[in-house]
Amino acid sequence: MSEPEERSDGERRRRRRGAEQEMVPEAEFRSYYGQPILKIPRWKAPHLPAYLYLGGLSGASAVMGAAAAITGRRALARGGRVTAAAAAMGGTGFLIAELGRPERFHHMLRVAKPTSPMSMGSWLLAAHSGLASAAAGSDLTGVAPGLGAAAGAASAVTGPLLATYAAVLLADTAVPAWHEAYRHLPFLFAGSAMASAGAAGLAATALGSARDRGPAARMGVLGAAIELAAAHDLEHSLGLTAEAYRLGEAGQLMRAARWLTPAGAIAAVAAPRSRAAALAAAGLLTAGALTTRWGVFKAGPASAADPKYVIASQRSTRSQS
């Protein structure tokens, strides 16, 4: 399979088919009756995108809870801890429901495999949800406050990893839209997680003191900025594969996020002074984070279903090398 031969094949096809094709180069690709080359991911909505959102929310909320505890913001600490525990449990539920054999969920902890992001993630999720639950339980009941605080501090270490490992989970596949975005997805997820947790913090403290709302609002603004920058970067550096994020359902969701997230960030700026703004920011940032996760999820199956994405990325890699 020599290079010159490939090229001459391409030239011959071009001559044969003439100029009736569209301007896009993928019109050149041949395929087997247009059938997908890859299997369409079996993961489904709402399970997977909901897990992506909840995992990020839990991870960043744990960090928020720990930081609030250290800085003496009681209401925000409790809000962060309870959100972290509840989101971890909810996310775990979605993951188990996603399995073909849910009763075998414990097989996830049968081995620890560094080559499997899902194996690493299962251990991480198990550790994180245990820590987050202990911290939240202690906070709510007042039992063993020392241990609760220690668990909360430890969950601030597992939290950021939980929020970003999911990007590796998606990227470590053959799915073009996910794999080729492996440089961008971790930051997209980190920003989205921060915005989600900021939103939860604002919701938890909307009726409380403005002092608690400040950090949550700043997390929302900062998270939104990271999320938007990563999404912009992603859509402008993937070449043809970026189409999977622009077209169809994924495109609608990503475009919706581009309005919701900045609107949420603007509301968050006013949140420390206004309860209404805090609640609006909470709602908008949450909606932005959810649509982002859903959009990223939907781009995957779309890019696996159309063989042009697989062929284009592999052909262009080869011509570069």
Binding site: M1, E5, E6, D9, R16, F29, R30, S31, Y32, Y33, Q35, I37, L38, K39, P41, G59, A60, A67, A68, E98, L99, G100, P102, R104, F105, M108, R110, V111, K113, P114, S116, P117, M118, G121, A156, P160, A163, T164, A167, V168, A171, D172, T173, A174, V175, Y182, R183, P186, A190, M194, R211, P215, M219, L222, G300, P307, V310, I311, Q314, R315
Partner: protein
């Protein structure tokens, strides 16, 4: 975790997986130039492995030539592709059998550069696809339960009593081979007839193949046979013939099941240059670690702001 565990040539896959002593690595060489599309491989596979028909008794016609199987899947571990199209014919002598009327000549015509070819001739390619049993198998690497394992023969199999149907392997396979079976919930794929190998028998498909299009044997021997056969096919009028998946330097470290193709891989529904996704895994974790640190730093910044 050396780099060879994730990418690049790897001489001893079974040894790498932990087998102290093991038989030679075996594989399939599927020579599509002599495939006649009889689909005996598909039938033998289904019979031997007792594969269910998910669409029980429902005949589905795909409109894709004689291919009514459609694709490899949880219950179709061999799949014969039929490519039936019209190609330009430059001159009558282009059809003249190069070597006493063998099956290659029709394809040789297809390669003619007849730009003015009106009408043309029917070209009919057939190829029996199967799991590639990759040297670096993404399905195996990403499996979180240990259900997917490397066998002593160097092949990759799913242990049905362990698989919990997480479907990670389905998204990870660069060839779109493994799938989760509806109603069963677990992932399934070709085992290269592990049970027959254990009993010193050839896999059912290779045994049933009437033209020896599917050849089974030690991988090293098959690679040598394939090279000889490729030279022969190219000399007899199909210069566009190529081997697919035989190269240990390729993106999956070489496949345990490789092919002689008469056109570009994507024409057969195969990825042109697949790369095991785990090649980039270290880079992915580095980015995730950086992003996690960014998140933690971001929260710290948010709390370090004005303390009222």
């Amino acid at each position: 975790m050396g780099s060879n565990r994730l990418y690049g040539p790897l001489d001893d896959v079974s040894g790498d997986a932990g087998y102290a002593s093991h038989p030679e690595r075996v594989g399939f060489f599927t020579d599509t130039s002599v495939c006649i599309g009889c689909q005996a491989c598909e039938v033998a596979c289904k019979e031997w492995n007792g594969l269910p028909d998910p669409e029980a008794d429902r005949l589905t016609l795909t409109g894709m030539s004689y291919d009514n199987t459609g694709a490899l899947g949880a219950s179709s571990w061999r799949h014969v592709a039929f490519i039936e199209d019209t190609v330009p014919v430059p001159h009558p002598e282009g059809l003249a059998p190069a070597d006493g009327g063998d099956l290659i000549s029709a394809v040789a015509a297809a390669d003619g550069d007849g730009a003015d070819g009106e009408g043309g001739a029917t070209r009919w390619l057939m190829a029996s696809d199967v799991c590639k049993h990759c040297t670096h198998a993404a399905c195996l690497d990403v499996c979180p339960t240990g259900a997917l394992v490397r066998t002593e023969f160097g092949t990759v199999i799913v242990q049905p009593d362990v698989c919990n149907g997480c479907a990670y392997c389905v998204s990870a396979c660069p060839f779109g081979v493994i799938d989760r079976r509806e109603g069963d919930g677990r992932a399934w794929k070709c085992t290269m007839c592990y049970d027959r190998l254990r009993g010193d028998l050839e896999p059912a498909c290779a045994t049933a193949c009437p033209t020896d299009s599917i050849q089974f044997g030690p991988l090293d021997e098959l690679r040598a046979i394939a090279q000889t056969r490729l030279d022969e096919v190219q000399r007899s009028g199909a210069p566009q013939a190529r081997l697919y998946g035989e190269d240990p330097e390729d993106g999956v470290g070489g496949a345990g099941a490789f092919f002689l193709l008469l056109d570009e891989p994507e024409v057969y529904g195969l990825p042109p240059d697949p790369v095991v996704t785990t090649r980039d895994l270290p880079a992915m974790w580095r980015r995730a670690g950086l992003a996690a640190a960014t998140l933690a730093a971001g929260v710290a910044v948010a709390f370090a702001g004005r303390r009222s």
